[in-house]
Every structure is written in structure tokens, then in C-alpha cells.
């Protein structure tokens, strides 16, 4: 059994006839980095909230490490879309708040030393005593990441953590996240709208169809070498095959799967026959449109 198993997850909001998503099933192995991509409104955030225990599904089960997920837990760290730092606490105190939740018996010195490690890790040394309002958007999100890592969870859930950042900042933090995740062997589930971000970070990319009755249509395996880097990745022809496949899905095929009951197809673009193998030029242009939209 995989580390995290999602079986037949379904969510219907009260007053709506059709469920937002249904038949959601996928698995995440320990140490795997999984991204989920889909259009707005397909229920990605709801799935993440169910995994976090902040929301409940209308049906189906989530099993992590052999136990069913019921309610929030310190075993799963969450990085929120809007960083969700407490503005009255300094950087250090924000992270210490999390650390003290996990280890209530630790004394102040131990908590501080522990938090300092994670502040250094995200490159915020020197900003420990600043309040969130004094930090840039990128720095705030680093604090959010440090806070999630500081409780050393079994799994990390990231809800579009870089969505509000400018492209340059996003790039730098992505690089740092790659470094940290590879060093810590962290299991990660992340929502993103950015195709390049998914290819850089993820081992597996879940493609979600449009809602209502959204499903996981395909599971794309990232066949690029694991030591890929943002600055060289685009020289690999394989990168474009994956990218085109993702963009093609988002633009042309994401509406075709609504209500499908089949298990998601596992796809390795470029290494087997797939729908994206044909017609590269138009999808490159389409990729630009996708990037502009987000």
C-alpha cells in the first residue's frame, strides 16, 4: 500500500445537484513530489483541504501511512495560498508558534534553535525579528514554507504557494524548494497553475478535468532526470514533450472527461504514443496564452 491513498473521493456542496468532483483516486509514495493541475473551479483546493483535514469529503477515503485522515493533524504541514502568517508575530514567533504546537515541552532556547535552522534554510537569516508586514511577498511565503517544514510533517501540502509572486521571485523560491525537498526527502502534494513549475518540481503530475464531476484524467510521469534545474531544463527536448502534453490537456482536452468513471491513465509523454505527440507548434503558442492567463 502506498504512503497516501485516495479512494473514490467525492465532494458535493449543499444545494448543488452535481458533485464538484468524484471518483478521485490516486496514490503518493513516500518521498514523492506530486503536483495537481486543473482549471479554476475543478476542486483542487477542496481536495487539498480534505487531505489537510480542514474540509470533509462527501464520499471516499483518504488513508495516510495506514491510517484514515479524519481532521487536521501535525503530521501534515500546510502552506497556504495567502501565506497566512500572523501579522502580530515576528518571523521567529510565527515559526515558533508551530514548533511549540508540535513539541509543547520544549524550552524556549530549544524552540528558538530549532526555528533558526528553518529560517536559515529558507534564506531569511537576519529577518527573524521582522513582522510580516515588513517583508516582501516572496519573503512572507518563505516564512510560510519554513513554518510548514518546522513541524517536520510526514507530508507537505502546498496550495498554489507561489501564485501571488512575480516571476523572478517565484523562480528563486522554486529553486530553494527543490533544494530543500530533495535534501529532506519530503513527500509533497502541491496545487499549481504553472505548467513549468509542475515540470520543475513534480515527479508526477495529476491532470484534473473541468468541474462539475471533475476527475483525475491522467497521471503524467515526469521523465526528466531528477537533478533537472530551472536554467537548463528547457534545453532537453523531452521537456517540450511533457510541456506540450500538459498544455494540450489544459486547452483542448480538460473538458472531455467530466463524469468519467475510468481509472486515470498513466502517461509518459514522448516515450509512448500520446495525443500530444502531434502538432507541436500550435501548442507552444497556446502555452504562452496559458502563462499569460496566470
Amino acid at each position: 500500500m502506498a504512503f497516501l491513498e485516495i479512494q473514490d473521493l467525492r465532494k458535493a456542496f449543499p444545494g448543488q445537484t452535481e458533485p464538484v468532483f468524484e471518483h478521485i483516486r490516486f496514490a503518493i509514495e513516500k518521498g514523492e513530489f506530486v503536483c495537481i493541475i486543473g482549471h479554476s473551479g475543478c476542486g483542487k483546493t477542496t481536495i487539498l483541504n480534505v487531505l489537510a483535514g480542514l474540509d470533509t469529503a462527501s464520499g471516499g477515503t483518504v488513508i495516510m501511512d495506514g491510517r484514515e485522515v479524519a481532521g487536521p493533524s501535525l503530521e501534515r504541514g500546510v502552506v497556504f495560498q495567502g501565506h497566512a502568517l500572523m501579522p502580530w508575530l515576528s518571523v521567529m514567533r510565527n515559526i515558533a508558534f508551530a514548533a511549540k504546537s508540535k513539541w509543547p515541552d520544549w524550552n524556549e532556547a530549544r524552540v528558538q534553535a530549532h526555528c533558526q535552522k528553518f529560517i536559515d534554510m529558507v534564506g531569511l537569516s537576519g529577518a527573524e525579528h521582522k513582522k510580516p508586514a515588513q517583508l516582501s511577498g516572496g519573503m512572507k511565503q518563505r516564512v510560510g514554507i519554513a513554518r510548514a517544514f518546522a513541524i517536520q510533517p510526514k507530508m507537505l501540502l502546498l496550495d498554489e504557494p507561489f501564485g501571488a509572486l512575480d516571476a523572478l521571485t517565484r523562480g528563486t523560491i522554486q529553486d530553494e524548494l527543490v533544494k530543500i525537498v530533495r535534501a529532506t526527502q519530503q513527500t509533497v502534494f502541491m496545487i499549481t497553475h504553472d505548467v513549468d513549475e509542475a515540470i520543475l518540481l513534480a515527479d508526477k503530475i495529476l491532470l484534473m478535468s473541468n468541474g462539475p464531476r471533475a476527475v483525475i484524467a491522467e497521471i503524467v510521469e515526469n521523465t526528466l532526470p531528477r537533478d533537472r534545474a530551472r536554467h537548463s531544463m528547457h534545453h532537453d527536448p523531452q521537456y517540450y514533450r511533457i510541456r506540450n502534453h500538459l498544455v494540450d490537456f489544459l486547452i483542448n482536452r480538460s473538458k472531455l472527461y467530466s463524469g468519467s468513471t475510468e481509472a486515470p491513465r498513466v502517461v509518459r509523454p514522448g516515450l509512448e504514443e500520446g495525443p500530444a505527440a502531434s502538432g507541436e507548434a500550435p501548442t507552444v503558442a497556446a502555452a504562452r496564452i496559458v502563462n499569460l492567463r496566470h
Binding site: G53, L54, P72, G77, V78, M86, W88, K131, A133, I151
Partner: protein, 279 residues
């Protein structure tokens, strides 16, 4: 530089207004030529001694009275003649006690109302009806049940300062950002720690705003309440001096009430600044 100059100019203008106001007041209250001589005895018999000049007191008379009162603020010569310091002390003690009781009642209850939409809806009609009642309307009821005028004063302060604190606390608690509560949930924060370390600091600026409004109202109400129940306090002082036809002391007391009210507001304003955060 520019702000510095603005500060200087506004101060100069304030001073000018002060001089104009006091000047106009002085001119308007200049003593008229008094008939001296034969009628002196008669005037004395009628209680129109030289000390109690007729008409509205001049600024100089106020200044003299203020000097006299402030140089010996704590004298006590019987129930109808106490120094302004003692009277202020009584008023402040009543306000302080009533206000403290209101805090102890309103802030926890506001927490409950803010956290529970059910309680909010259930208690809302009561709050809406009780809130607009003038606190002095409670006075007869308070006097009848408590049977002590001083404690009744405290009760009136309690009842008038409770509403803004209650409503603001409930509002502040209900408006705490979902994100922060979710952070607390994912960290499995216990309810008490969540209340004190997440909700309280998040709602503190709103709660302090309510406390500031309450203090303003309490200070307005105490004067009226003390006029009604009598005995001690600045309100009683004002009324007593009016009965003595000593307008000089009445005006002095009015100024004191204003200054103390401002200081109370400033103090809570400081506190408010301490707990305010920038998002």
C-alpha cells in the same frame, strides 16, 4: 521638514484661537461700575458680598479659582466642601470599577457570541433593545435593588460601558481571518491556546476600539449620574457649586472634566496602538 512646519503653524494657530477666545470672554465679562457706599451693609445682608461678583466670571477669576483649587486639591472640610482631587478620585474610582466589571463581563461574553453564530442570533435582540436605553434610566431600579447610591453609580457605569465592548468583541472575534484559524487547526492548537494566542491578538484592535468608545461614554455618564445620586464626585461637585451659585468653580470643574476625559482617551489610545498590527 514640511510636517515639522505644519506642526509649528498649527500650534501657533491654536494659541491664537486661545488668545482670541479668552480675550473676547474677558471683554464680555468686564465688571460694570458698582454702586459703592451706603448700600454696602444691605448688599452683604443680601449675600452679594464683594467676593461673589455678579454676572459671568472673568477668565482671570477662573484662573484664580483653578490655582486655588489645584494648590490644595485634597482638602476635606465636611460633606459639601471637598477638594477637586478627592472628587475626581471618587469619580475615577466609580468609572474604573464599573468599567472593569463591564470588561470582565463583556469580553468573555463577546468571545462566545463572536464564535457561535447561534448565540449571536439568540442574544442579538436583547442587545439591540438594551443598547439604546439611557444608562440613567436604570438608576431608579439600581437604587431600589442595590440600596446604595455609590454602588448604583458603579452599576450605571457598568451598564453603559458594556455594550460597545460586547459588540466590538463579538465583531472582532467573528471577523478573525479564516486562514489564521486554519493554521491553528492544522497545528492541532488546543482551544484555550487558540483563544489566547490567535483569536485574542487578532481581535484585540477591534476590542480596544470598543473599550475606547466605552470609556468615552462612561466618562460622560458619570457626571450625570453623580449629579443625580449626589454625595461625592465631579458631577456632584458641579451641581453643588451651582447650588452655591459659584459659576467660577462650575467652569473650572467643566475644564477639569474635559482634561481628564482627554487623558483617559489618550491612555486607551496608547494601549490600542500597542495591540494594533499591520497586515
Amino acid at each position: 521638514m514640511a510636517t515639522h512646519r505644519l506642526w509649528l503653524r498649527s500650534a501657533a494657530l491654536s494659541l491664537l484661537f486661545f488668545v482670541l477666545l479668552v480675550g473676547a470672554w474677558h471683554l464680555a465679562t468686564l465688571p460694570k461700575a458698582e454702586v459703592q457706599g451706603a448700600n454696602d451693609e444691605y448688599a452683604k445682608l443680601m449675600g452679594k458680598g464683594a467676593r461673589k461678583a455678579e454676572g459671568f466670571p472673568t477668565p482671570a477669576a477662573i484662573a484664580a479659582a483653578a490655582w486655588q483649587q489645584l494648590s490644595d486639591p485634597f482638602y476635606d472640610r465636611g460633606p459639601n466642601d471637598k477638594g477637586i482631587g478627592i472628587q475626581l478620585g471618587h469619580s475615577l474610582a466609580r468609572v474604573g470599577l464599573g468599567y472593569l466589571l463591564a470588561m470582565l463581563f463583556a469580553i468573555p461574553l463577546g468571545f462566545v457570541i463572536g464564535m457561535s453564530p447561534l448565540m449571536y442570533r439568540a442574544l442579538d435582540p436583547y442587545i439591540q433593545i438594551l443598547k439604546p436605553i439611557s444608562p440613567l434610566a436604570w438608576m431608579p431600579l439600581a437604587l431600589y435593588t442595590i440600596k446604595d447610591s455609590s454602588i448604583s453609580g458603579i452599576f450605571v457605569i457598568f451598564i453603559c460601558s458594556v455594550w460597545p465592548m460586547l459588540i466590538n468583541t463579538a465583531f472582532g472575534v467573528a471577523a478573525v481571518r479564516r486562514d489564521w484559524l486554519n493554521v491553528a487547526r492544522t497545528l492541532e492548537v488546543k482551544p484555550l491556546r487558540r483563544a489566547f494566542q490567535v483569536i485574542l491578538p487578532a481581535a484585540a484592535p477591534t476590542i480596544l476600539t470598543g473599550m475606547r468608545i466605552s470609556m468615552g461614554i462612561a466618562w460622560l455618564v458619570i457626571v450625570a449620574a453623580e449629579m443625580l445620586v449626589g454625595g461625592t464626585g465631579v458631577g456632584y461637585f458641579v451641581w453643588n457649586e451651582w447650588n452655591n451659585l459659584n459659576l467660577t468653580n462650575v467652569i473650572f470643574a467643566i475644564l477639569v472634566i474635559g482634561v481628564v476625559g482627554m487623558l483617559l482617551d489618550l491612555a486607551i489610545g496608547r494601549l490600542q496602538k500597542l495591540v494594533t498590527y499591520v497586515e
